[in-house]
């Protein structure tokens, strides 16, 4: 380990170093735990447990020595605190679950551990994954006594994006080589874009949702976040696969080696450019970076094809009906009866419910529960929920129509770069509107990526969004990898990290 610092290695390189025993899993784990602590002011980690982490690491060192190591043997990773884990608290960023210990691991956590990954800890996120700035976490980050903002390492007065904000910060600041995130309406892609890293949300149903604390069941999907497409491919290969005994929405599609086609030529690849993603709402700096990446693709032999996704605008109201509707029901289990927060003083059952939920949930969660309960109410269901479901199907059809003339779709991830902490203040609608480019793919259940494409205002990273048809993750990763072979945006690091 003379050539470069351990935390500069990508997953693929680090796995090789570990396998060839030039560095031990224990050393790697200790290195990243130390970095996590040294940079705890970023608010990325909410929990670590060195005893467990080092026990994992020692087991992986033994596996490497015995020749029974998995593909990720000894690679330290951290999990978004939406995944339940044994040995670490699982809070979903909520006071409701402060200190909650799960008796089981999420399927994705188990699968990564089976591949040899070592768990470093849990990462901050918006409460129940609701938010676009990670400003809605109610949990005190490691080293803090009270909830504190998660800071973007490219400019610590800026938000990291959300809801997987802690995840994106951990990778960008080299506090973990790779992490897990979850994406409901853009929660992997948008923070990846804002923090200059690579993230992929697979096709809905490819990764098991078992052990992911549910926000919106028909949209929630797990995915990896790392510095490169190559690293994402390694993690995603371990995370996907059917889980029929635990998740009925898990698809019967076998696990796949997503690294296999990374280097395939993209000569002749047809990249669809949706006109609706390049309208007046798009900031010029973001547009410039995205255009730059598209030019790179043309140089690599890809063809840009104009397409239309006519219901892009509608994806905002549709999403903000369906997701809150599902959330209002999914969060009913947090009632103070069985686990989690319970109010101290109450007069009767209803009073206990009211106080527990009033105290336990933050404002954004309450807002969405109320919207959700409203749109499902008798007399409103048809006008809102049912109508939204119809338009959701049309949005999915629009994509199928578009994929007749292109292989992948490219555009911006978000209309702007990361904004300043507190900038959207008490205007939740501003956050909602910023989700416009990630929501259509989420509603259609398509795989989507964010790939570093350059820098914009204030030197903040800009991500290029790539969307593929169902099960086309390998093609997306291939396209992203080829771009990363031709550019170095994903290798740049924020100053001081």
């Amino acid at each position: 380990m003379t050539f470069t610092a351990l935390h500069d290695l990508g997953v693929a390189q680090l796995a090789t170093e570990l396998r060839e025993r030039r560095v031990s899993a224990v050393e790697a784990a200790q290195h990243f735990l130390a970095r996590a602590q040294a940079h705890q002011n970023l608010g990325a980690y909410v929990a670590v447990n060195p005893d467990i982490t080092l026990a994992h690491a020692r087991a992986q060192d033994a596996a490497i020595a015995a020749g029974t190591a998995g593909p990720l043997a000894g690679v330290p990773i951290a999990h978004k605190d939406i995944f339940v884990t044994k040995g670490f608290p699982s809070t979903a960023g909520s006071k409701m679950l402060a200190g909650y210990q799960s008796p089981f691991d999420a399927t994705v956590v188990t699968k990564l551990a089976d591949a040899g990954a070592v768990t470093l800890g849990k990462l901050n996120c918006d409460e129940f994954a609701m938010g676009s700035a990670n400003e809605n976490s109610a949990v005190a980050p490691m080293g803090f006594d009270a909830p504190a903002p998660v800071r973007n390492p490219w400019a610590t007065d800026r938000i990291p994006g959300g809801s997987s904000g802690g995840s994106a910060v951990a990778v960008a600041a080299r506090l973990a080589p790779a992490v897990t995130g979850t994406d409901t309406g853009g929660s992997i892609r948008q923070p990846a874009s804002f923090c200059g890293i690579t993230g992929i949300k697979p096709t809905y149903g490819r990764a098991s949702r078992y052990g992911m604390i549910a926000f919106a069941s028909s949209l929630d999907q797990a995915g990896p976040m790392a510095r490169s497409a190559e690293d994402c491919a390694l993690l995603l290969s371990a995370m996907c696969g059917p889980d029929p005994d635990r998740d009925s929405t898990s698809l019967d599609v076998p696990a796949e080696n997503f690294s296999a086609k990374l280097n395939d030529s993209i000569d002749g690849l047809r990249i669809g450019i949706p006109a609706e993603f390049f309208g007046e709402g798009l900031a010029p700096d973001v547009r410039a970076a995205v255009d730059g990446a598209l030019k790179e693709y043309e140089k690599l032999g890809a063809k840009l094809v104009p397409i239309s996704l006519p219901r892009t605008q509608l994806s905002i109201p549709v999403y903000y009906i369906i997701a809150p509707a599902e959330a209002s029901s999914n969060l009913s289990r947090f009632d103070g009866v069985k686990f989690g927060h319970r109010a101290k003083d109450y007069t009767d059952l209803v009073d206990m419910y009211k106080k527990t939920r009033a105290e336990g949930f933050g404002d954004e969660v309450k807002r969405r529960i109320m919207i959700g309960a409203y749109v499902l109410s008798h007399g409103y269901y048809d006008a809102y929920y049912l109508q939204a479901q119809k338009i959701r199907r049309m949005i999915a059809d629009d994509f199928q129509n578009a994929f007749k003339s292109c292989d992948v779709i490219a555009g911006p991830v978000a209309p702007t770069v990361a904004w300043k902490l507190g900038d959207h203040g008490n205007d939740p609608l501003a956050d909602y509107l910023a989700d416009i480019f990630t929501l259509p793919g989420s509603l259609a259940g398509l795989p989507g990526m964010s790939v570093p494409a350059g820098f914009g205002e204030g030197g903040m990273p800009v991500g290029l969004q790539l969307l593929g048809n169902y099960f086309q993750e390998a093609r997306l990763l291939n396209a992203a990898h080829r771009l990363q072979q031709a550019t170095d945006f994903h290798l740049r690091r924020p100053e001081g990290f």
Partner: protein, 482 residues
């Protein structure tokens, strides 16, 4: 068919029955469904709704729904949808119940049964799969309630009828028939005390020809006796209210067996908005034609089919056939006995008569009958071949039932019940009786038939009941004529 009127009112009843399915594990988890275990020992992470858990459909429960659909001639939906019924209650761990709302798995169908000798048909609206809630225990914890989630997630089929019933008797007969069917096809253990078969009755009254009256729903009727009492009380109460000029308010009521009265627990105004919507954790339930065919192939003969076969194959009256197919065990007992003795009608008479009477006295099922079908067949064989009389047969039956002996012929032998088939000995007795009763003989010859019967009685008495009555008749008539 004209409905029976009560004080000029027609009664209208519809049923909703929660049938607990006899599956090994719960409807959306792998926890066992065993009844009576220590609280919260039969509930897994999914049943407790721990964060991150998801439901996975138990195919066994779906198979039960298919079987019910096949038994009742229903449409089995190739695609049905699970929905969430949202409400807060401590024994509902997720804050919603997974049920079926707009598109249930079983649609339509009917239940046929006899009310006395009148054949009735009650149409089904639907039957849908859903999960049961846990139990709240309010008694054992001072100032607090205990929650037992063992029952949470137990599979239920809720079977809903059209408002086709017109009396409490008909309602109870329907419930009994449905109970028979679900236990017959093995989808429910039928244990009403343990809550495996819970009925809600929707009751309203109206003047004939008028539109349906406002209904009140009597919840959780868990015995046939209470069912009848509750419905009868409710009918009287509603008629009184209307006669007194009060309108009926839609309400849910409970029956109190101690007072024999129904009492409103909530009215329509408090009706919750359950915010039903399709459960995004469960894809639509697909049932292939092949699956239906497989269940059909494995299903036992249904009571209705079996009764028809008893009429056709054994020449039984429809009433006998229906009665004998009240339970699988009784039908099996009959068939075994009928086949062994070759006298189906005699076997039917004995089972519906002596056997049932004794079983009812001791409240035992026919499975536990001390007289086996083979023994009964042997007994009937001895009646049919003239070895014993019907009266003697009852003595033999009694000996078998009480366990005095297990062998029919041995009892006949030891009790000396064999009929006197030796005509020489019988003729001697007849000659003696004629000689000893000249008055009766004279009266008979004078045309009084009664005197003949008196002579037969004397002969039977003298033979200690062993004489064959048919033979006595023939010989006596011949001698008196001679």
């Amino acid at each position: 068919m004209t409905a029976k009127l009560i004080h000029g009112y027609e009664v209208v009843i519809g049923f909703e029955t929660h049938t607990q399915l006899a599956t090994q594990s719960k409807i959306f988890s792998r926890a066992p469904t065993a009844f009576g275990a220590e609280p919260n020992t039969q509930a897994c992470a999914v049943d407790l709704a721990l964060p991150g858990t998801l439901p996975v459909m138990n195919r066994e429960a779906v198979a039960c729904a298919i079987k019910l659909g096949l038994a009742l001639g229903s449409h089995i939906a190739p695609v049905s949808i699970f929905a969430r019924k949202n409400y807060f209650y401590p024994d509902l761990p997720k804050g919603y119940q997974i049920s079926q709302f707009e598109i249930p798995v079983v649609q339509g169908g009917e239940v046929e049964f006899f009310l006395g000798d009148e054949k009735k048909t009650v149409r089904l609206v639907r039957a849908h799969l859903e999960e049961d809630a846990g139990k709240s225990l309010h008694e054992d914890f001072i100032g607090q309630s205990g929650i037992d989630l063992n029952r949470a997630g137990t599979p239920l089929l809720e079977i809903v009828t059209e408002p086709d019933m017109r009396s409490s008797e008909e309602a109870v007969a329907y419930a009994k028939e449905l109970h028979k069917i679900v236990t017959w096809i093995g989808i429910c253990d039928g244990n009403m005390q343990e809550g495996s078969f819970r009925c809600d009755a929707n009751v309203s009254v109206r003047k004939p020809g008028q539109p349906l009256g406002t209904r009140r729903e009597i919840k959780n009727l868990n015995s046939f006796k209470f069912m009848q009492q509750a419905i009868d009380y409710e009918i009287r109460w509603q008629i009184e209210q209307i006669e007194d000029g009060h309108a009926i308010q839609q309400a849910t009521v409970l029956f109190d067996p101690d007072t024999g009265e129904t009492r409103a627990m909530r009215t329509k105004e408090d009706a919750a908005d359950y915010r039903y919507f399709p459960d995004p954790d469960l894809p639509p339930l697909h049932i292939s034609e092949q699956w239906v065919q497989d269940e059909r192939a494995q299903m036992a003969e249904l009571p209705r089919t079996m009764a028809a076969r008893f009429v056709a194959d054994y020449g039984l009256p429809e009433y006998d056939a229906t009665t004998l197919t009240q339970s699988k065990a009784m039908a099996a007992y009959f068939e075994a006995a009928a086949k062994a003795c070759g006298q189906p009608k005699l076997a039917s008479n004995w089972i519906m008569g002596e056997v049932s009477r004794r079983l009812n006295m001791t409240e035992t099922g026919i499975e536990q009958a001390p007289v086996t079908a083979a023994q009964l067949a042997a007994l009937i064989g001895r009646i049919a071949d003239g070895t014993i009389s019907n009266n003697a047969a009852k003595q033999v039956f009694d000996a078998l039932w009480t366990g005095e002996s297990s062998d029919v012929d041995a009892v006949i032998e030891s009790k000396g019940l064999k009929q006197m088939n030796d005509s020489g000995a019988l003729e001697k007795i007849i000659d003696e009786v004629i000689a000893a009763n000249p008055d009766n003989v004279a009266q008979f010859r004078a045309g009084k038939d009664k005197a003949f019967n008196a002579l037969v009685g004397q002969i039977m008495k003298a033979s200690k009941g062993k004489a064959n009555p048919t033979q006595v008749n023939e010989l006596l008539r011949a001698k008196l004529a001679g």
